[in-house]
């Protein structure tokens, strides 16, 4: 099993979700996060007070999938989340030791 964690542009979320659904991946967890990599932030001015905002809003997606599907998922994720500009985000792939469905105790791939 692999865990795919992706940080993407918020406006790309719908496209990514649709793409995942189209290849049969329908389990995912999404959270609002803020962060930055190489993308520079912006300046905000409130009554003459200037603030450099470098932590920008992003979406974090987490999916756990069978290992053999990892390459395909990463490829589709890249295609659907890409704009080609700085700030598109990153994908991280982790090994997962086990997965348990809380409702009935299913383990491993059958719990996904």
């Amino acid at each position: 099993m692999k865990k795919i964690e992706a940080i993407i542009q918020p406006h790309k979320l719908q496209e990514v979700k649709d793409a995942m659904k189209s290849i049969g991946i329908d389990g995912m967890t999404i959270s609002d996060v803020r962060g930055h990599g190489r993308q520079k932030g912006h300046t905000e001015v409130y009554r003459g007070m200037e603030y450099q905002i470098d932590l920008l809003p992003k979406m974090k997606l987490e999916m756990v999938i069978p290992s053999e599907r990892a390459e395909e998922v990463v490829r589709i994720l890249m295609e659907s989340a890409r704009t080609g500009k700085i700030g598109d985000g990153k994908i991280f792939v982790y090994e997962v030791a086990d997965a348990i469905r809380i409702r009935n105790g299913d383990r491993g791939d059958s719990a996904l």
Partner: protein, 454 residues
């Protein structure tokens, strides 16, 4: 025959007498009906205005201010406004109305209306001949509520709640009531209509409300010192959405504040309503364009701040100026206050957190002086046919306005400083560093504004 004639004469006479008394009675009834109709109309408008002015404090000011602070202080900031609605009402009923509107010295009222003694349904002809005295009393109460609430923007995010309560109580007693008496009370030192020594024109409270609160705010900001981490850390407004709603409620409520100050549903009320609206529009545009030119972006915070600056500046002038001068007053206040909060303040480096001094202190001062320039007896014949302001040819009025401004400034500076010293000794005025870091919502009130997990 003679008997018949006599009888006829008697009958005719009695008929005439009856007709005459009928006419008198009808006239008296008519007179009474007209008076009662006027009283009903005026009273309806004044009660509406009183409610509008209360709406300026809560939710208007509470939203406007709380949107500008950080999330951890949203409730504490709202509470600063809300609790004024309670505490000032109690003070007002016990002694405040009497100190402001009783008749005694030019600087302070008497105890004649203590516990609202004698303030009932019968009108007080000096203050409002067509409305119940009680209506006038409750209308004026709403002004006494918002004035200290305005100050709270200066010490936002760092004042101790107990110290704040004590400060506001003493401030209302020692600064607001005397100032209101001087400008609006019968025999007050600056009263333009009721025998003041230096008749200053202040229709709805430019000196009483905005200069006193704005200048006291500066003293509070200086006395309490900067917020921890200011200005290095981030102090972005946590929700300008709240502030926009608050500013819009202030704009609407201000019609009660200014047009209500005509104390009648009259054409003067209409004139003040129009002047208020026009100045506000001009000021919102002026601030927006000034900022757009300087920083490259017309901010929403700039537009709403400009509107408030315009509302402040037109307050003393609203019942004395025509609509076109109102545009001018608004435009000057919009640009003036923008420069004050975005340039001058940063040069001095004090932390008037929500710019009470820049908007209310400076906007109020500009408005008070400009009232002396643009007031005209064509709008309000308050001096009985004599010229009002500079454009009427009365140069001296600008001087009277300046005297009122100086008195309000001095009273606010000296009074606030002494009161802060007293509060500091009794309750303390500033929260502990750990409490400030935690935020006032949790440290002072044991609550949080946004519990989305619930």
């Amino acid at each position: 025959m003679t008997k018949r004639l006599l009888l006829f004469c008697l009958l005719a006479l009695s008929a005439f007498a009856q007709t005459a008394s009928d006419v008198d009675k009808k006239l008296a009834d008519l007179d009474k009906a007209v008076k009662s109709a006027q009283s009903a109309g005026d009273n309806a408008w004044m009660l509406t205005s009183a409610a509008l002015v209360l709406m300026m404090t809560g939710p208007g000011l509470a939203l406007f201010y709380s949107g500008l602070v950080r999330r951890k202080n949203v409730l504490g900031t709202m509470m600063h406004s809300f609790i004024m609605m309670a505490i000032v009402t109690v003070l007002w009923g016990i002694i405040g109305y009497s100190l402001a509107f009783g008749e005694w010295t030019p600087f302070l009222g008497s105890g004649q209306y203590a516990f609202l003694n004698g303030v009932g349904a019968a009108p007080n002809p000096d203050y409002g001949a067509t409305i119940p005295h009680q209506t006038y009393m409750v209308y004026q109460l709403m002004f006494a509520i918002i004035t200290p609430a305005l100050i709270s923007g200066a010490f936002a995010e760092r004042m101790k709640f107990s110290g704040m309560l004590l400060f506001m109580t003493l401030w209302t007693l020692l600064i607001y009531f005397p100032m209101a008496h001087m400008v609006w009370g019968k025999g007050g030192f600056l009263n333009a209509a009721l025998g003041g020594k230096f008749p200053a024109l202040d229709f709805a409270g430019g000196t009483v409300v905005h200069i006193t609160s704005g200048v006291s705010a500066l003293i509070c900001a200086l006395y309490l010192g900067k917020r921890r981490g200011f200005p290095a850390e981030e102090f972005r407004p946590h929700s300008l959405v709240l502030s926009v709603i608050g500013a819009c409620l202030l704009w609407v409520g201000w019609f009660g504040f200014n047009a209500g100050s005509a104390v009648a549903a009259s054409s003067l009320a209409t004139s003040a309503f129009v002047a208020t609206h026009f100045a506000t529009a001009a000021a919102a545009l002026a601030w927006t364009f000034a900022e757009w030119l300087k920083t490259g972006k017309p901010s929403v915070l700039g537009a709403i701040s400009g509107a408030v600056a315009g509302l402040v500046a037109i307050t003393p002038a609203s019942g004395y100026v025509a609509p076109m001068p109102a545009f001018v007053i608004g435009a000057i206040a919009g640009v003036g206050c923008y420069l004050m909060v975005s340039v001058v303040k940063h040069k001095f480096g004090y932390d008037d957190s929500l710019d009470v001094f820049g908007v209310h202190g400076m906007g109020g001062t500009m408005g008070a002086i400009l009232t002396g320039v643009f007031a005209t007896n064509k709008v309000n014949n308050v001096f009985g046919g004599k010229p009002l302001g500079l454009i009427d040819g009365n140069v001296a009025q600008v001087g009277n306005q300046a005297i009122a401004v100086v008195i309000a400034w001095v009273l606010a500076i000296v009074g606030s400083f002494i009161i802060l010293k007293v509060c500091d000794a009794i309750t303390g005025v500033r929260v502990e560093p750990s409490e400030e870091i935690q935020g006032l919502d949790l440290s002072m009130h044991g609550e949080e504004g946004y519990n989305f997990e619930g």
